[in-house]
């Protein structure tokens, strides 16, 4: 078999128009994944801008003081307001607080719905899940393309909402505020999240069927890389939880348009019912965000420690366990609005999540033991991930405990906990995965030195930004406030300084990636000596992923018995050469 299927999926077509068309109308999961990746990186940038706006606003507390001018007139002056462009809307002055609310809402909504939920599954998962399974494509390639356009459509709604005045309800859209607020374009943003949910559902459906039906010959369930297990568990949550978000947001739109009153106490409805609806999706959604990060961490640690992962099955099953338990715990977001009966049940169930999560962390740590670790950028990120995620995880139980949560609820402690899990967990894993697979899907190496420098800066800056927020929270600083008591200022300023340093780190990363795309060295087939199937094909892969259908003869982590394909065997000393099986990979 030869012909056009044997060229790189990135190879341009005869004419520019044909090349553009080959992307716009592609059903190739790799191209769709690359398009997703570009879009979510743009969303990450936009969300980051909003985050910087939030942090800069918090540099100083808002305060109104009387100032005496030279001519003796006394005027009240409001200081410490960063976000106030002085625009009137509908003839009314927009209060500075509304601008602050918009900034953190945009940060939250964009980061959650446009960046972090699709980040790993729809981008890296799309590119690598079929290759890791030895499949030619996902099960439903056209549905995959459709989900990408649904994502774009939802993204356009979100951008419209921003341009039409933004949203100031917080990304959680709590009623009755979200149904009554007069500022901005809330309905458009709610519809955007509603539409983006469908994109997520279609991706999840596709992955589940792909994993069940399209594994290469010889690949049993326990021969799958753990990234696939994690994305599979994620897909289960995407399919089972996202529709509830859909109906919740649809009812919210009805509430705004027709005043149906189900969530509106003024009309005899129940506002906390909305919170149940919302968190039934949005708590499992937290696991949609973090589970793929777990999967990436498993890959990074095994490959860059060049060692069989400790407790493969335990890690695999813990992903499924987390997916199942994620549906049981949503009530812990409402400890202050629920009844005691529900609180006790939800609090108890919440602690269950710690078990499978801890299983993963311990297994990763055990893998480090006597491993030959190469401290390159992906491995650095894997280590940073374990550090930050563990802090994020361990600050969960104080929030799941009813008594302590009364104090910590809606404070910066929650903000810090959430960011340690989402950013310290998912984003750091995502960055690690991006570096790990960058040579494979772009065909280019990146500058290892500067990438390492940037990763260390990101790690340090991240901790500066968010660790102080634990102290802010325990001292009683509430979240989502544009101003604060003066004694919080020092901690807030440290946090803002950390955020600026974080920006520097990410800008260096962007420069490293740009340099790699323009002038990076050509990547070898297997730069890290990995054993899973993506390292046995070309970099970048050919259009149908492999020159011929791979047959799986070894596990993804059999580093103790197998020499990886396309590497110099002298770099891979093995304990007993008699047991070695060379993997020849996919030679052309």
């Amino acid at each position: 078999m030869s012909g056009h299927h044997d060229v790189s999926y990135l190879a341009p077509k005869d004419t520019l128009w044909k090349t553009i068309w080959s992307w716009v109308y592609t059903v190739d999961h790799k191209k769709i994944g690359v398009m997703y990746l570009s879009a979510i990186l743009l969303a990450f940038f936009l969300g980051g801008v909003a985050a910087m706006a939030v942090r800069l606003e918090l540099w100083a507390p808002t305060q109104t003081v009387l100032e005496r001018a030279n001519d003796g007139t006394v005027t009240p002056v409001t200081r410490g307001v960063f976000l106030d462009p002085g625009i009137k809307e509908n003839g009314k002055e927009v209060p500075p607080n509304v601008w602050y609310n918009r900034a953190f809402t945009l940060h939250g909504a964009i980061m959650v719905f446009l960046f972090i939920i699709p980040s790993i599954p729809a981008a890296l998962g799309n590119i690598f899940l079929p290759i890791m399974l030895g499949a030619k494509d996902v099960a439903f390639p056209r549905l995959n393309l459709f989900s990408w356009y649904v994502y774009v459509f939802g993204g356009l709604f979100a951008i419209y909402s921003i341009l039409a005045g933004g949203v100031e309800t917080g990304w959680t859209f709590y009623t009755p505020y979200s149904t009554t607020t007069e500022w901005g374009a809330t309905t458009a943003m709610v519809l955007a999240a509603f539409i983006l949910g469908f994109s997520s559902i279609f991706t999840g459906m596709n992955f589940i069927v792909t994993v069940h039906k399209l594994r290469a010959p010889g690949m049993g369930w326990f021969d799958m890389p753990l990234f696939v297990w994690a994305v599979y568990a994620t897909a289960i949550i995407q399919v089972l939880a996202t529709p509830v978000l859909g109906i919740t947001l649809l009812m919210l739109v009805f509430e705004r348009l027709f005043k149906i009153g189900i969530f509106d106490p003024a009309l005899g409805g129940d506002a906390v019912l909305f919170q149940h609806f919302f968190w039934f999706y949005s708590h499992p959604a937290v696991y949609i965000m973090i589970l793929p990060g777990f999967g990436i961490a498993s890959e990074l640690i095994a490959v860059h420690c060049r060692k069989r992962l400790f407790g493969y099955k335990a890690i695999a099953f813990s992903s499924i366990a987390i997916a199942a338990i994620s549906f049981l715990v949503w009530g812990h977001h409402m400890f202050l609005s629920e009844t005691a009966a529900a609180n006790i049940v939800f609090s108890g169930l919440t602690f269950l999540v710690a078990i499978p999560t801890a299983i993963k962390v311990f297994n990763w740590l055990a893998t480090f033991y006597k491993a030959s670790i190469s401290w390159n950028t992906p491995m650095l990120y894997a280590a940073f991930f374990i550090f930050c995620f563990t802090i994020g995880g361990l600050t969960g139980p104080p929030l799941a405990t009813l008594a302590t949560d009364i104090h910590l609820h809606d404070t910066y402690f929650v903000v810090a906990h959430f960011h340690y899990v989402m950013m310290g967990g998912t984003v750091l894993a995502f960055m690690g995965g991006l570096h790990h697979w960058w040579p494979k899907f772009t065909g280019r190496m990146y500058n290892e030195f500067w990438a390492r420098v940037a990763s260390v800066i990101v790690f340090i800056a991240f901790n500066i930004t968010f660790f102080v927020q634990f102290f802010l929270g325990t001292q009683g600083m509430p979240r989502r406030y544009a101003t604060y008591d003066e004694h919080f200022q020092l901690l807030h300023q440290i946090s803002t300084a950390g955020a600026l340093l974080l920006l520097v780190g990410f800008l260096i990363h962007a420069a490293v990636f740009a340099q790699s795309l323009v002038a990076g060295a050509k990547a070898p087939k297997n730069p890290w000596g990995g054993l899973s199937l993506e390292w046995e094909t070309e970099s970048p892969p050919v259009e149908h992923n492999f020159h011929r259908e791979p047959v799986v003869t070894h596990g993804p982590y059999d580093y103790d018995t197998v020499v990886p394909a396309h590497v110099d065997p002298r770099d891979y000393p093995l304990p007993d050469p008699a047991e070695v099986r060379r993997v020849h990979g996919d030679h052309h």
Binding site: V138, K213, L214, L240, P243, G246, I260, H544
Partner: protein, 229 residues
């Protein structure tokens, strides 16, 4: 995979589209593809069930709070006879769609078309009944959801308007699914007319049938909960 022609040496005629069907390049064979598509459809139906669970949970929350009000409102504002007739009509359509799939498995093209036509007639009857006998009189009399509630007759309790909110949004969403089903079934009829369904390949018909059964199942729950309980 070797190239597949639409002609086969053993056949003394051109193959019909369903006989000549070739699975997507990334599938090992047509059986895998059909099973994968069915699994995908079941996953989609899962999302539909959970979507409607939003309505059922809203229903349950208020039904438990105001059992008397809701029972009275159900019997007062809604006509169980219309609901029951529509239930029977949907059950009939479900049965005909089963028979359409069976006809495809047995390569009986005309039967597929007849059964699908009956299914679509049932669906249109359902929609017409809803619009003409239920929605329109309700709009005229102000039996509207939430703040739009403007009915000036004898009300049954303080939460009639919330009951009507649940009634309107759930039946309207269900009705939208019925409408989508009409288009899907029409599409299947076109494909059936063009001989795309036969024993070897009837995936899209089977999956549209699954969708249609789900629409039926949702109504099986909506009818007693809204009209009777």
């Amino acid at each position: 995979m070797s190239s597949i022609t639409t002609k086969d040496l053993t056949a003394d005629r051109d193959l019909l589209p369903w006989e000549a069907y070739v699975p997507g390049h990334h599938w090992r064979n047509a059986e895998d593809e059909a099973e994968g598509a069915k699994l995908g459809m079941w996953l989609f139906l899962s999302t539909e069930v959970l979507l409607f669970m939003g309505f059922f949970t809203a229903y349950a929350a208020f039904r438990m709070k105001f059992p008397g009000n809701w029972y009275e409102a159900a019997h007062y504002y809604l006509d169980w006879q219309i609901g029951a007739i529509n239930t029977c009509v949907l059950l009939l359509s479900s049965w005909t769609v089963v028979m359409a799939v069976r006809a495809a498995q047995l390569a009986k093209r005309r039967q597929i078309l007849v059964y699908l036509a009956i299914t679509n007639l049932c669906a249109l009857f359902f929609l017409a009944t809803k619009l003409i006998l239920e929605y329109w009189p309700k709009i005229q009399k102000g039996k509207l959801p939430g703040a739009n509630f403007a009915y000036t007759g004898e009300v049954q309790g303080a939460h009639d308007h919330i009951f009507l909110s649940v009634y309107w949004i759930s039946t309207a969403t269900h009705g939208f699914h019925v409408l989508v089903g009409v288009f899907l079934i029409s599409w299947c009829m076109i494909k059936a007319a063009k001989n795309h369904y036969g024993p070897k390949h009837y995936t899209s018909l089977e999956n549209v049938a699954l969708y249609w059964h789900l629409v039926d199942v949702i109504w099986i729950f909506l009818f007693p909960l809204l009209y009777l309980a």
